[in-house]
């Protein structure tokens, strides 16, 4: 057990956990930030995606000891009022079915659009390929990323 100061959504949180605890479970079990989801635990599904120093990262694979000095953003901190252009686009298109994967999809899309504000269809499909949606809402996700890009430009 060690003590870690984590900078999450512009606030510092102190937790006492084992060094190898994945950031995902620190967020969910210790800090009550349950918007970040557990799907596979091996970095294959993307449900646990968060931003670490601005880049999309699988929080299930990131040990807390590595995350300690980094700037972490979760779905809860993506925007003040749930009005990030990607969140708005998700609402415009009504993307979610069960909704479980969508926080991860939104975090992936928002990081991608920051680096590529004018993506082609292929860019979008490649960027979102790592996130599984078991309800297969892929057509809507693709459309929403396009709409978000338009909102941001």
């Amino acid at each position: 057990m060690s003590t870690f100061n984590l900078k999450i959504n512009n606030k510092t949180h102190t937790v006492e956990v084992a060094d190898d605890t994945p950031l995902l479970w620190v967020l969910r079990d210790h800090l009550n930030l349950v918007g970040t989801k557990y799907g596979c635990g091996i970095g294959q599904c993307g449900a646990c995606s968060v931003h670490v120093d601005g880049n999309v990262t699988r929080s299930c694979l990131l040990p807390v000891s590595v995350a300690k000095d980094m700037d972490i953003t979760t779905i809860e901190g993506l925007s003040e009022n749930g009005d990030h252009p990607v969140q708005q686009a998700w609402k415009d298109i009504d993307v979610p079915q069960c909704g479980y994967c969508q926080a991860g999809q939104i975090m992936t899309a928002s990081s991608f659009l920051k680096n590529n504000p004018n993506p082609s269809r292929e860019d979008i499909r490649n960027a979102m390929h790592g996130n599984i949606c078991r309800c297969a809402s892929y057509n809507s996700i693709e459309e929403a990323v396009k709409v978000a890009a338009e909102k941001m430009s």
């Binding site: 084992a18 609402k91 079915q97 069960c98 479980y100 309800c135 297969a136």
Partner: protein, 745 residues
């Protein structure tokens, strides 16, 4: 045909009751499927809503806001949005003024509070609208009494009642008076052309919470003092726990205790299961003891479980995929069938045939893989058993738990959270029973959490199934059709033998047989038809070629036969099937020369009360078929929420493409050979086509969409791949069975 099936005998007075709330406002309780009991009391306090006698409640506040407390579980199919739309339409309020609250469930008598079979909307269509219309009439009657005029002189629209002089009262102004009135015996429902909410694109009512990551799902549910449990179950189907060593696990951080469970579940199986009528929901209860790590956090529980050392003993045969293949093929070759439907004389037709076309189609087991793994909260105390989480069947879950723990059913409550996918998996309550048994043992509130590996390798699977379909041809005409099913554990359910092509072919027979396995199987999105449609629709494509007739024409002609010889038992409408075929052919340009390198495949199907036709367009890229586009024509009657309907239709098609092309699930000595998404393929965005959806427009009562677009797509894809490669794929997943070297350009 649909509307007569939908009719449920009730009088409005007996299914709807009202009260004035102590806190102000009018409360309406209704029971959709049964008359309310004579002596039932309506609550006057929102904290005492009971769902034993009512399916749901509507509260109209003095401000005119409407809150619908609906316990129908949401698994992603949109009923939490679309069912309240039906009430709001006839109540005639602004959708913006409607709030939907997922109601907790107290157990005892609730009916049809399960999500499955795409039936929620079909069954609720009339009664939900009648409920809204009755409430509206009571509000109008109350306003008329206040004004001293006749109710027939008043109209109500968007929450406002207007009399002949043009005076107005809001719904909220008359709720207290309305609550005292008799429920009207007769109400008139709106003409569909006057709908203002039904037919409008309406967003998911939980959308704001979903996109901001609010706690909604079972896995997000927490209580003070709650601990976490990770369960070690037998690694192979057919094994039981022999012994274990928890020394190392107990020394790991956060671990509170290591216990075993299983005794209560066995007691239920031995002493109570036979009295209950839901064997199908409890078939997955294991006889084995299980080792449970109790820890302070999820990660610590899952991590410490890996340090357990257990030995297992074989209780029954450890089965492998080769064994299933052998057994199912032997059943198809044999004669030991149950005949599900028999028209004319298939034997004679085949004996007299010039030619017989016979093909065998094969499908693997499939796990559900809901993205939220199985989990449940249980808190067992001296006087209460509280269960909270994602389950599609709260009633059997509560009953089994009450018997397992020897509690009165009145002590057991089930609260349903939003579910991170269902697809059939959450019909089975094994995870509820485990959570209850664990909490009972440790006397603490506990959350049982399955890891992805647990979830995929100790599941309730879509059973492996094989079909052998044969057609007899005489003088160039189709004279007989014989379908044989060999399935693991359970065969197709009763209605399916009456689906198309039943009644279209004079000599027609459906036979079934099964092999009993120790691998747990159950419903998986569109049970049985999810593979049957692929098989039959592939067969019809080949049959048309064999007969030398156009594929579309073959279907149209067969459906013409049904129209000429109406048969009361068939479930589909030949006119509506012809309608979706015509629409899909027109919209997809099927049968016309298309772009270079695009190959099209057609499939047509009826299941879950909905008629669907689909065309898949594929291209070959580096010798691999890629589905570029799917055109889908759907006849589901009136479309209640087009936005939600499109989500269901497109999701069903893409889910179907993924599982028929890519997903495989193999057993070796009882052990599933895939346990996470690195060894099991689910469809991803780069593999998905655009889906172009067209509705047949009519005023027929609506039918569900959670399932019916999935089954035919496998057939459409296989038929397109045939055109591109010359290979008739009969075994799923297709991509494991496509011979690359035979690809034609």
């Amino acid at each position: 045909m649909e509307s007569s099936n939908n009719k449920i005998a009730f009088s409005r007075r007996s299914f709807l009751k009202t009260s004035a709330l102590a806190s102000g406002g009018m409360l309406i309780g209704f029971n959709l499927f049964n008359a309310c009991k004579e002596n039932v009391e309506m609550p006057i306090d929102l904290s005492t809503l009971n769902y034993n006698d009512f399916n749901a409640f509507i509260k109209i506040s003095p401000e005119g806001k409407v809150t619908i407390f609906a316990p129908n579980p949401e698994i992603g199919q949109g009923v939490k949005t679309s069912m309240p739309m039906l009430i709001a339409e006839e109540l005639d309020v602004l959708w913006e003024d409607v709030y939907v609250v997922q109601a907790p469930l107290d157990t005892e008598n609730y009916k049809r509070q399960l999500a499955g079979g795409s039936q929620s909307l079909r069954l609720g269509w009339e009664p939900l609208r009648q409920t809204g219309a009755s409430a509206k009439q009571m509000l109008v009657n109350a306003a008329a009494a206040k004004w001293g005029v006749d109710a027939s002189e008043c109209t109500a629209k968007q929450g406002v009642i207007t009399n002949a002089k043009g005076e107005t009262l809001g719904y909220g102004d008359v709720v207290l008076e309305a609550a005292q009135l008799e429920v009207p015996e007769e109400v008139t429902l709106k003409d569909p052309k006057d709908f203002t909410i039904i037919g409008q694109n309406t967003s998911n009512v939980d959308i704001d919470k979903i996109v901001t990551g609010k706690p909604l799902f079972g896995l997000d549910y927490k209580e003070e003092g709650m601990v976490y449990a990770s369960v070690l179950r037998p690694p192979a189907f057919g094994q039981l726990l022999e012994s274990f060593d928890a020394t190392e696990a107990k020394a790991m951080p956060g671990v509170i205790d290591v216990i075993t469970i299983g005794e209560k579940a066995r007691d239920y199986l031995e002493n109570h299961a036979k009295d209950d009528n839901y064997n199908s929901w409890t078939a997955q209860l294991s006889k084995s003891d299980k080792v449970v790590v109790i820890a302070k956090t999820t990660w610590e529980a899952i991590n410490a479980k890996k340090a357990l050392k257990a030995t297992w003993k074989d209780d029954s045969t450890l089965e492998s995929t080769e064994l299933h293949d052998e057994k199912l093929l032997a059943l198809l070759d044999g004669t030991n069938f149950k005949t599900e439907r028999k028209d004319g004389n298939v034997k004679k037709a085949f004996a007299q045939a010039d030619k017989v076309l016979e093909r065998t189609y094969e499908s693997p087991f499939l796990p559900h893989n809901t993205l939220e793994p199985m989990n449940f909260f249980a808190s067992v105390t001296a006087d209460k058993v509280r269960l909270v989480g994602p389950v599609q069947t709260p009633e059997p879950a509560a009953n089994v738990v009450s018997k397992m723990l020897g509690r009165d059913i009145k002590q057991v409550s089930v609260e349903m959270t939003r579910m991170g996918g269902g697809f059939g998996r959450r019909l089975y309550g094994d995870f509820v029973y485990e959570a209850a048994e664990i909490s009972n043992a440790i006397q603490k509130p506990v959350k049982m959490v399955s890891s992805r590996e647990d979830d995929m390798s100790t599941g309730v699977y879509r059973p492996a199934i094989k079909y052998r379909i044969a057609a007899s041809i005489k003088d160039g005409k189709l004279t007989g059709y014989h379908l044989k099913e060999a399935a693991v554990n359970v065969n197709m359910y009763g209605l399916i033998p009456n689906f198309f092509p039943a009644a279209a072919i004079k000599n027609y027979q459906v036979d079934t047989a099964n092999y009993q396995s120790n691998i747990t199987t159950g419903a998986w999105r569109a049970p049985y038809t999810n593979f049957l449609a692929s098989a039959e629709q592939s067969f019809f494509d080949e049959l048309a070629e064999e007969l030398g007739v156009d594929r579309v024409q073959l279907h149209m002609d067969l459906l013409e036969n049904v129209k000429k010889n109406p048969e009361p038992n068939i479930k589909y409408s030949p006119e509506r099937l012809q309608g979706v075929i015509k629409l899909v052919v027109e919209k997809s340009n099927y049968g016309k020369p298309s772009e270079d390198g695009v190959y099209q495949g057609l499939a047509v199907y009826y299941c879950h009360n909905t008629h669907v036709a689909e065309v898949a367009d594929i291209v070959m890229t580096n010798g691999e078929p890629i589905v570029k586009k799917v055109t889908c024509a759907v006849d589901c009657g009136i479309v209640i929420n087009p936005l939600g309907a499109l989500n269901q239709i497109k999701g069903g098609i893409l889910d179907g493409i993924g599982h028929t092309m890519y997903s495989d699930f193999v057993f070796d000595n009882g052990v599933p050979q895939s346990n996470n998404f690195n060894s099991y393929q689910l469809i991803r965005m780069g593999q998905t086509p655009q889906v172009d959806v067209h509705f047949v427009k009519n005023d027929i009562a609506p039918t569900g969409l959670g399932e019916p677009t999935l089954p035919p797509i496998g057939g459409a894809v296989a038929n397109a791949i045939y055109k591109a490669t010359g290979q008739r794929l009969t075994k799923q997943p297709y991509m494991n069975n496509l011979q690359a070297e035979e690809v034609v350009s």
